[in-house]
Symmetry: none
Subunit: 203 residues, 4 copies
DNA sequence: CATGAATGAGGATTCATTCAT
DNA sequence: GATGAATGAATCCTCATTCAT
């Protein structure tokens, strides 16, 4: 899990190769989980030899970590984007339907749960996950404060932080629900989520 | 993953031994995850030889399944209990603080995430988890319908089912949040959660 | 593989128990081979606990040895009986059909091959098998000498011993053929075997 | 037992390695039997790690099957060669001595019995053995038909097939006799075998 | 840069055997 | 006599990792 990316003559090519591995890892991790996916499986998917992967990553754990980092960044980006709309509060309430289906139908659910489980056990992964979460929340917090100020709502740190936790929990929880009850009536779920969002965001 | 509990002369002792194994498994699974925990590790924690465990469980997978079943039952029971109070709607809103801390501070979070991750990949575990969820929701649904009827609220199947999903998502999401941001300001989270609950339950 | 049958208070009962085990072993060995049959499997078939078997046999190897001894005795007996008919030479030629079907259709073929394979590898079993063979050949030899003398044929030791080997080889070989070519045309096989027997016995 | 030979960059080297394993297996199987020989034992004899063997064979069973295939091919080849002489009928009678010593003294007897025992219980091995036997008999049959036709003897399918069975049984039976009575008087055995062969082949 | 052959430790599981009851 | 709970060594097999080429 060391930070040292090895020296390569052609850094661009090296970066490409790293990405190849991470993309392959995505496929394999999705199919078999972090521990179920073997280096050989990943190397085949990446179109390079197992041995060569070790020129780009110190260990399998390093791949997992890099993969999680990347994934978690993507999620963060979405969260930031989503939060940079005009009137984000209204936007979030209005777009409840989109958010709910996104969280319930995504093909990344298995991966997301895998990441969370790993984070709850592997300190290195936990650090990556928490760090990304920290950054996302920072962006999200700024946005909420501005938006709530415009609506004359309490925008103190604690209030906003509590609000963020609850909102994110609601969406992450939908990921979890997807594996418990894939047949839930979506429109009704959306209605309830919208009620919750409105209540939270505008109080 | 057969249900096949082997015949034992002394069923009480056997039950005790099974429980010993499950308790040991809890410890090890918490520490190392389902796949990281070795049978030898579990056997040491259970105070019996690895070979002997196979007199009580068909395989490691069977241990995981039994363990999940037990755990999931416990969660179900809590959900049912919680749902059998006098005016459950009001009760849930009032007790938001208790529920939130319960979900954020529990030492079972790692296990819960482990179970969810496993369920998203292992069909046998998924079946156990979904079955328990089905039963919990059935109890929960009955309760919500009665309670909402008393409050003159829409108690149709779809509405209630959507409501349930959102409420459960909120709480399960709090489990997930616990590993991302252990330092969240609890009172503010509670306030937002209470807002959300009130909005959902009473609409 | 020690010779010491343990002391038992009631030797008759003990003998009965031993036989129970050997009968069970027959079933299991037939089904799974010597090494594929587990003590637990045998104990279940014998209707007694695995542990208790060790009051009658020192080890699994001792069961195999005793089993082989018994089986080999049975074969010997048949050989002796078969050899005590009036004009055994003529008898053998005439009864070629019976002998061939006996060797080709028996349900003991698997066991016989198992025994031979074990004997070729396990010196203790080899000793048992050779000893029984020695005794059978002794009876068989006496008979052949008398019969051939009556027919004015050379009855010297060497000639008779060579003859015996070839005759027995022919029949044992039929056991082997049974697993290679179960569909061989029996009548034609019988005809050839009869030709061979006549030629050998009466030369 | 899949036919699945893995892809290797250097097929020659791979073939060499496979053969190394099969040779080592021969040694170990001879010494300890198929089930008594451990993968670790084989790997030591093959001069490579146990794990590496799995780059060339899917499983221990696959090694056994490949080994049997090879062995059984060798035996088939001998049978075919032996049958392609000028006047094969006369040749077989004349060469009785060679055939007998070959079958009685070979150091492959233990292996042969092991193979037969395995075939009588393991369907995959039985298939390999039967298939090879089928091919050998086909060659042998053609030869016998031609040779007997030249001698004006009945060369109908059934007669020849029955004859083949009996002849092969006689030789295979000699393998079996070798472990029962290593001290049999060879010349006398040869004499009897010759009598039998002449009687069978020329009737 | 790239390969894949090779290692060896560690995994789950089975099973002959022992022994307290 | 009889049980079956318990052991622990051995088995087959997998896989992250290394290294000669």
């Amino acid at each position: 899990m060391s930070n040292n990316e090895k020296r390569h003559n052609d850094p661009d090519r090296a970066q490409l190769r790293r990405q190849q591995v991470l993309d392959a890892a995505a496929t394999c991790f999705k199919r078999s989980g972090f521990h179920g996916a073997s280096m050989s499986e990943i190397s085949k998917a990446a179109g390079m030899s197992a041995g060569h992967i070790y020129n780009y990553f110190d260990s399998k754990d390093a791949i997992i970590a890099a993969f999680v980092e990347q994934n978690v960044e993507r999620v963060s980006a979405i969260l930031r984007d989503l939060a940079q709309r005009a009137d984000p509060l209204k936007e979030m309430v209005d777009d409840a339907e989109g958010s709910v289906s996104e969280h319930v139908e995504s093909d990344r659910i298995a991966l997301q749960l895998e990441i969370w489980a790993e984070a709850s056990r592997n300190p290195a992964i936990a650090a990556v996950v928490r760090d990304a979460d920290l950054r996302s929340r920072s962006d999200f917090r700024n946005l909420l404060k501005a938006a709530r100020a415009r609506h004359q709502l309490d925008a103190s740190d604690d209030v906003v932080d509590g609000l963020m936790e609850a909102v994110i929990a609601l969406f992450h929880g939908l990921h979890v629900r997807a594996i418990h009850n894939p047949g839930a009536p979506l429109p009704a779920v959306v209605a309830s989520v919208r009620n919750a969002l409105r209540a939270m965001l505008f109080s």
